[in-house]
C-alpha cells in the first residue's frame, strides 16, 4: 500500500522529487511508523496518530557541536538561532509571528550530534510549518546586523546556563578535562572567545555544507493525512538540489589511562562533585545495561546512593547520573550536590564502594526489577504527546537507527540481568578511566 502511495505521489514529478517508500514498522500496538526518501536525499518518517487534533513537525539535521572545527565552537548552536531570522520571502520576525498566530509552539535544540527544529501545531495548520521550514532550509538571509544581534543573545544564554551557574561551569570543566582533544570536549554553546569571533562567512559556509536535503530527516507525528502531507512535502522540498551527504572528519576514540582531577573554586553554598566515566555510544549494547545500572546507583529515591548519601548519612542534597545518547563513545556523568560541610571525597568513596559492591556481588533481584520498572515508566511516558513521538522518530532516524527503535530498547531493558550489570560496571566504571571535578566554595 505504501509503495502504491509513493507511485501515486510520483506521477508527473522530476527525479529530485521522486518519493521512495523505504519501509514501515509497528510503533506500539496501534500505530505504524513509515520511512520515505525523496530523490534529493531528504528522508521523511511519518506516524499518523489521530488520538488528538495536533501534529508535531520536526526537522532533524545531522549536524551538531561535534562537527565544529577548532576556533569555531558554538557555530552549530549559533546557527540554530540564526535560522529564526528572515528569508527573501518571509521577512525577519515573520516566522515566529505566523506560527504564533495559528497557536503553534516552535523552537529548536542543538546538541553534540544533531540540531532539531520543531513546530507543534493544531492539526489543520500543518501546511504552514511545511512551507516555512522548506523556505528557511535554503533561502535564509545572513547579514551582519542579524549575526551581531544574535551573538548578543547567544552570549546571554551562555552566561545564564554556564558562566553564572555552578553546575553549568562544573559540567563544562568535566567534559573539557575528560575529552580535551575530542569533539565532545567543548560545550555545545561554544567557548565565549569563539562565539565573539564567529563571522557571517562562517555562518554561510556552515549553512551551505550542512543544511542540505541529504542531511535532513523530517519527523511527523499526529493527526494528519499521510498522502496529502507527502504531496505537500514533495512540492515544498522536491525542487531542492541533491548534494552529497556531508560527513564529519573521523574521530579518534577518547582514550584514557589514568584518573584526571580538577578543582574549581567559585562562589557556591557547598561542595559539588561531577564525575565522568568513559561510556559507550548509544548504539552499543552496553548502553542499555549501563542505563539500568545508573538507575540502581542514583535513579530516584530508592537508589543505592540516594539512600546512603541523602537519606542515611545526610551528606548530600541530591545525587544524579546521566548517560547521554550520543552517537560516539562519550561520558557517563555522575553528580553529587553536597550539603554545607559535606566532603566531596567522602561522597566519592561511597560511590567507589557502591560500584565495587556491584562488581563483586551483583545487584539484588528486587533492586534490579525496580531499576527496570522505573526505566519502563520513563520510556512509555516519553510517548504521551505527538511531539514526544516525533522526537523519538527523528532522533533514532538521525542516528541511523530504526525510527521505532524505542520499542527494541524497552524489550532490551526488560532483558537486562545481573550479569550484564556486573559486566558493564567492570568494563566502564573503571576509576583509571574517569575524570573528577570538585567544586569548592570560595
Amino acid at each position: 500500500m505504501s509503495d502504491a502511495l509513493a507511485k501515486r505521489i510520483n506521477r508527473g514529478t522530476g527525479r529530485r522529487a521522486t518519493l521512495r517508500f523505504v519501509g514501515d514498522e509497528p510503533f506500539g500496538p496501534r500505530l505504524r511508523a513509515r520511512s520515505w526518501r525523496f530523490g534529493n536525499g531528504l528522508r521523511v518518517v511519518t506516524l499518523p496518530d489521530p488520538s488528538a487534533p495536533v501534529v508535531s513537525y520536526q526537522t532533524w539535521l545531522g549536524v551538531g557541536s561535534r562537527h565544529e572545527r577548532k576556533g569555531k565552537t558554538g557555530l552549530a548552536h549559533f546557527f540554530e538561532h540564526l535560522m529564526f531570522g528572515g528569508t527573501a520571502r518571509v521577512p525577519h520576525g515573520e516566522f515566529d509571528r505566523r506560527l504564533e498566530e495559528v497557536g503553534a509552539e516552535s523552537n529548536a535544540a542543538t546538541w553534540t550530534d544533531w540540531t532539531c527544529f520543531y513546530e507543534n501545531l493544531p492539526a489543520h495548520e500543518l501546511p504552514l510549518a511545511i512551507e516555512l521550514e522548506a523556505d528557511r532550509l535554503t533561502n535564509l538571509v545572513l547579514d551582519e546586523p542579524r549575526v551581531e544581534s544574535e551573538r548578543e543573545v547567544v552570549m546571554s544564554e551562555r552566561r545564564d546556563r554556564i558562566d553564572d551557574d555552578v553546575d553549568g561551569r562544573a559540567g563544562e570543566a568535566l567534559w573539557a578535562t575528560a575529552l580535551p582533544r575530542h569533539p565532545y570536549g567543548h560545550p555545545t554553546l561554544g567557548w565565549m572567545r569563539d562565539i565573539r569571533r564567529l563571522s557571517v562567512a562562517d555562518c554561510e559556509a556552515f549553512y551551505r555544507t550542512w543544511y542540505v536535503p541529504s542531511n535532513v530527516v523530517l519527523a511527523i507525528a499526529g493527526d494528519f493525512d499521510e498522502a496529502r502531507v507527502l504531496r505537500r512535502i514533495r512540492d515544498a522540498y522536491g525542487k531542492l538540489r541533491r548534494s552529497p551527504r556531508p560527513t564529519a572528519p573521523p574521530t579518534k576514540g577518547p582514550g584514557q589511562r589514568r584518573e584526571r582531577r580538577k578543582v574549581l573554586r567559585m562562589p557556591a553554598s557547598s561542595q559539588r562533585l561531577h564525575i565522568g566515566y568513559r561510556a559507550p555510544a548509544f548504539g552499543d549494547p552496553d548502553w542499555i545495561a549501563l542505563t539500568v545500572l545508573s538507575q540502581h546507583l542514583v535513579g530516584g529515591e530508592a537508589s543505592l546512593l540516594h539512600e546512603d548519601l541523602v537519606m542515611d548519612r545526610e551528606l548530600a542534597r541530591s545525587v544524579w547520573g546521566y548517560l547521554p545518547p550520543f552517537a560516539l563513545p562519550s561520558l557517563y556523568e555522575l553528580g553529587v550536590d553536597l550539603r554545607p560541610g559535606g566532603d566531596a571525597q567522602v561522597a566519592l568513596a561511597a560511590l567507589d564502594r557502591a560500584i565495587a559492591e556491584v562488581v563483586d556481588h551483583g545487584v539484588p533481584p528486587d533492586a534490579l526489577q525496580r531499576a527496570k520498572a522505573r526505566l519502563e515508566l520513563g520510556l512509555i511516558s516519553s510517548m504521551e504527546t505527538a511531539s514526544g513521538k516525533a522526537d523519538l522518530l527523528g532522533f533514532y532516524a538521525t542516528l541511523g537507527l530504526r525510527p521505532a527503535g524505542i520499542f527494541e530498547r524497552i524489550d532490551a531493558t526488560a532483558a537486562v540481568g545481573d550479569e550484564d550489570l556486573r559486566r558493564v560496571a567492570t568494563r566502564w566504571l573503571d576509576p583509571r578511566q574517569r575524570t573528577v571535578v570538585t567544586v569548592v566554595p570560595r
Binding site: 496501534r30 488520538s51 488528538a52 487534533p53 520576525g93 515566529d96 509571528r97 504564533e100 498566530e101 495559528v102 497557536g103 503553534a104 509552539e105 507543534n120 501545531l121 493544531p122 495548520e125 551581531e148 544581534s149 544574535e150 548578543e152 543573545v153 547567544v154 552570549m155 546571554s156 544564554e157 552566561r159 545564564d160 558562566d163 553564572d164 555552578v166 567559585m266 562562589p267 557556591a268 553554598s269 557547598s270 530516584g300 529515591e301 530508592a302 539512600e307 541523602v310 537519606m311 545526610e314 542534597r317 550539603r339 554545607p340 528486587d366 526489577q369 525496580r370 531499576a371 520498572a373 522505573r374 519502563e376 515508566l377 512509555i380 511516558s381 510517548m383 504521551e384 504527546t385 505527538a386
Partner: protein, 434 residues
C-alpha cells in the same frame, strides 16, 4: 470530556484514555501554605515530605522501594492554596499503587527521626538557594510585592519557622487537612470508571467526612512607589532582573481581557517585550511576562537577565515598555495576534489525558467556571482591543512595583537606583540566612 462524580465523599475527576499503559493519579488537598500557622511557615511542606516517609506499617525506604518496584513516580508539591500529590504508574500496577498512596495519606507515621531529617534537608535546600540567582530573585520579589500578606510568605518556610515545627504540629495539621470535603481526586489514563470506583471504595472509604474550611487569604494591599532590592552577589556576569506588582484574581471579570493583554505584552516570542529586549537589541536571552492564577490577586511579573553592563538600560527600557503598555494600551494587531495564539494553542492544554485532567481540576479548584473549560475559546475571541487595554489599565500600577536585581551591588545600586520612580533602594547579601 472529564467525567466528574462523588465517591466516598471525595470530588472525583476521571479522564479515561487507553492509548498508553499508564495511569496518573492526582490528589489535591485544599489548604496549601496558606493553612500554615504564621509562626510555622513551611508546615504543609514538611507534612508533604513526611507523607513519603512512611506509615505505621512501613518506613520511608520501604515506600520508596515499593513505588519504584511498581514502575511508579510520586511527587508532592506545595502551592499556596493546596497540597498536591501526583503519581504516575504502569497501568498493570494501578491497584497496589492506589492502595499505597491511600495508606500514605491515611496513616502517616510522622516519625520523630524522619521529621528531624526532613527539617535538616529543607534547611540544606534553603542554603542552596544562594547558588540559584533566579530562585533568589523570585523569592525576594514575592516578599517585596506582597509584604506581610500570606502570598508573600515563602512556601517552604524559613530556617527559623522550620526549626519550630514539632510532631504534634504535624499530627494536628494532618487531622485538619485530611477531610473528604476538601479533597479532589483525579485519575487519567488507562483506567475506567468502574475500576476507579472499586479502588476508591476499597482504599478511600474511611476518609473523615467532617467539615473543615481551609483558610483563604484576604485581598493583598498595594505598596506604593517603585522599591528596588539588590541581592548583592559579586562575580556575576549578568543580572537577574525581576519586576513585579499585583496582578489579577482568577475569578476577576476582567481575567480574559487581562490574559490576552499580558500575552500580547510578554507571553509570546513575537510579543512586545521579547521583541524589544531580545529580538531588536539582543540584551537578554529570556524576556517574558507572566501572571499567576489564584483566588486573590497573584503576582504579575516580567523577567530578563542582561549582562551587568546592560542592566541599567535594560531595566529602564522594561519600565518604559510597561508604562506604555498600561497607559497607552495595545495595538489592534497585537491583540488580534495574541487572541489567535491563545485560541490556537489551547489544543496543547488538552492533547493528553493528564493535561485534560489537570485543566479540569485547576479550573474547579480556582472556582473559575465553565468559561475556562468549554467556553475558553469563545471567551478569548470576545476580547477586543479596548477591553484588553482597559483591563491592564485598571489592574496594573506601573509606578507601584517591586524590583529585584541579583548581581554586583557595587555596580548596580547607583545605576538602577536612579531610575524614575524608585522610592527606596535596599541591598541584601545573597547568602543571608533565609
Amino acid at each position: 470530556m472529564t467525567r466528574r462524580f462523588r465517591a466516598q465523599g471525595l470530588r472525583v475527576f476521571l479522564e479515561e484514555n487507553h492509548e498508553l499503559p499508564l495511569v496518573d493519579l492526582v490528589i489535591r488537598i485544599e489548604g496549601g501554605s496558606l493553612s500554615d500557622p504564621e509562626r510555622l511557615a513551611g508546615l504543609t511542606r514538611v507534612m508533604g515530605r513526611l507523607y513519603r516517609r512512611g506509615t505505621r506499617r512501613m518506613n520511608g525506604a520501604a515506600v520508596d522501594a515499593q513505588v519504584a518496584a511498581l514502575g511508579g513516580r510520586l511527587a508532592v508539591t506545595i502551592g499556596r492554596e493546596a497540597l498536591t500529590l501526583h503519581g504516575s504508574v504502569l497501568a498493570r500496577n494501578v491497584e497496589p499503587f492506589v492502595a499505597l498512596v491511600a495508606e500514605l495519606l491515611r496513616a502517616p507515621a510522622f516519625r520523630g527521626r524522619d521529621l528531624a531529617r526532613a527539617k535538616r534537608r529543607i534547611k540544606a535546600n534553603l542554603a542552596a538557594l544562594a547558588d540559584d540567582d533566579h530562585g533568589l530573585a523570585s523569592r525576594h520579589l514575592r516578599g517585596l510585592v506582597f509584604g506581610e500578606h500570606p502570598y508573600g510568605r515563602p512556601l517552604g518556610g524559613t530556617h527559623d519557622s522550620i526549626g519550630r515545627i514539632t510532631r504534634a504540629d504535624l499530627i494536628a495539621h494532618h487531622e485538619r487537612s485530611w477531610r473528604a470535603a476538601h479533597i479532589r481526586l483525579g485519575a487519567a489514563g488507562a483506567i475506567d470508571e468502574a475500576s476507579l470506583r472499586t479502588l476508591l471504595a476499597r482504599h478511600f472509604a474511611d476518609v473523615p467526612r467532617g467539615r473543615y474550611v481551609a483558610p483563604r487569604a484576604g485581598a493583598p494591599k498595594r505598596t506604593r512607589g517603585r522599591r528596588l532590592l539588590i541581592v548583592h552577589k559579586p562575580d556575576r556576569t549578568q543580572t537577574q532582573l525581576g519586576v513585579g506588582t499585583l496582578g489579577i484574581k482568577a475569578t476577576d471579570s476582567l481575567y480574559f481581557p487581562f490574559y490576552v493583554a499580558d500575552t500580547a505584552f510578554g507571553g509570546m516570542f513575537s510579543a512586545r517585550l521579547m521583541q524589544a529586549i531580545r529580538a531588536e537589541r539582543g540584551w537578554s536571552y529570556s524576556a517574558y511576562s507572566v501572571v499567576g492564577a489564584a483566588r486573590q490577586r497573584e503576582l504579575w511579573r516580567m523577567w530578563t537577565h542582561p549582562s551587568v553592563e546592560r542592566a541599567r538600560d535594560c531595566l529602564a527600557l522594561q519600565l518604559e515598555l510597561l508604562e506604555e503598555w498600561v497607559e497607552g494600551g495595545l495595538r489592534a494587531e497585537e491583540v488580534r495576534r495574541a487572541k489567535r495564539y491563545l485560541i490556537g494553542s489551547r489544543c496543547f492544554d488538552e492533547d493528553t489525558a493528564y493535561r485534560r485532567l489537570d485543566l479540569a481540576m485547576s479550573v474547579a479548584a480556582l472556582g473559575q467556571g465553565k468559561a475556562h473549560l468549554g467556553g475558553y475559546r469563545k471567551a478569548i475571541a470576545e476580547v477586543d482591543r479596548a477591553a484588553a487595554s482597559e483591563a491592564v489599565r485598571r489592574r496594573l500600577r506601573p509606578w507601584d512595583l517591586g524590583i529585584v536585581a541579583v548581581g554586583d551591588a557595587t555596580r548596580l545600586a547607583d545605576a538602577l537606583g536612579s531610575l524614575p520612580g524608585i522610592v527606596q533602594t535596599r541591598v541584601v547579601p545573597f547568602d543571608a540566612r533565609l
